[in-house]
Amino acid sequence: MKLECKHVWEHISGYLDQQLDSELLAAIEKHLETCEVCSAILDSTRNILVLTADDRTYELPLGYSERLHARLARLISQGGETG
């Protein structure tokens, strides 16, 4: 199977999630060996996902947890019922 770049692009997400069947995977890996353009797109996308999952990308506001539990404590102490 010989692939053009734009076909590789359609499968970047599936590639990163390891959801491609073995034939397609082999064809894409072969393409990536020689294609600098697709390799860079893949690397940049992968790095964006690494950055996304990093704990520091989304942080909690200071005092969030305290305020949340204080509000829940008020609800519960007022006899809040689970239903």
Binding site: S44, A53, Y64, L72, G80, G83
Partner: protein, 209 residues
């Protein structure tokens, strides 16, 4: 889909049995999950915090409707996502509505941005505060239906089935929207990624400069 953990199931049973104070313990591991889910959708800290509190209160009030077939975290995320959607609808001005409508209808270009001179290692990128800010901005700029899937899959790291169930869509649609979201983000963020690495002379560069 994994069921609630044994420990969680036991806690839930005790809370429903009247030990309501244990609810604090039940939700503690998911405080951030709920906040970030809502924040990434509504894009406003105060609104996200209020929404997170409402989510937990709703979860408390409706705890008996949690059946335990799904993970407790997925159930919470579903409530959080509904809360976020509700807030977004309220906040949305009509101009934004019509923009969203057009995005919905447009076929869209979901091809990635071509770059050939960028090889920043993830670890180095992670140290960059401004890149994280740009990423949050770019996620916020995604059309809602793509943003929702991206938030659950790539920020909260829910699996495909959990994401589909939380959003009420099928797995195929999760895959399609996730791919498009990632490609849009790649395109939006490439300028900031690229500028960090010196251009390498290369044969391919002249085709894309």
């Amino acid at each position: 889909m994994k069921a609630a953990t044994a420990n969680e199931s036991a806690l839930i049973a005790r809370i429903l049995g009247g030990e309501t104070g244990l609810f604090h313990e039940l939700i503690r591991p998911y405080e951030k999950l709920v906040y970030v889910t809502i924040f990434a959708i509504v894009k406003n800290e105060a609104d996200a915090e209020d929404g997170a509190q409402e989510t937990m209160i709703n979860a408390f009030r409706h705890l008996s409707s949690f059946r335990g077939e799904a993970k407790f975290s997925t159930w919470l995320v579903t409530i959080a996502m509904n809360e976020a959607r509700k807030r977004l609808r309220k906040a949305k001005v009509s101009a934004e509505n019509s923009l969203e409508q057009r995005e919905e209808e447009a076929a869209g270009d979901f091809t990635p941005a071509v770059l050939t001179d960028w090889r920043e290692v993830p670890l180095a990128a992670l140290e960059r505060k401004e890149l994280r800010a740009k990423l949050r901005e770019a996620v916020g700029a995604l059309p809602e239906k793509y943003r929702e899937v991206f938030v659950l899959r790539d920020i909260e790291e829910l699996n495909q089935e959990e994401t589909a169930s939380a959003l009420g869509i099928n797995v195929t649609l999760v895959k399609v929207r996730l791919h498009r979201a990632r490609m849009m983000l790649q395109k939006l963020l490439v300028p900031y990624l690229k500028s960090q690495a010196p251009a390498r002379p290369g044969v391919l560069r002249r085709w894309f400069s």
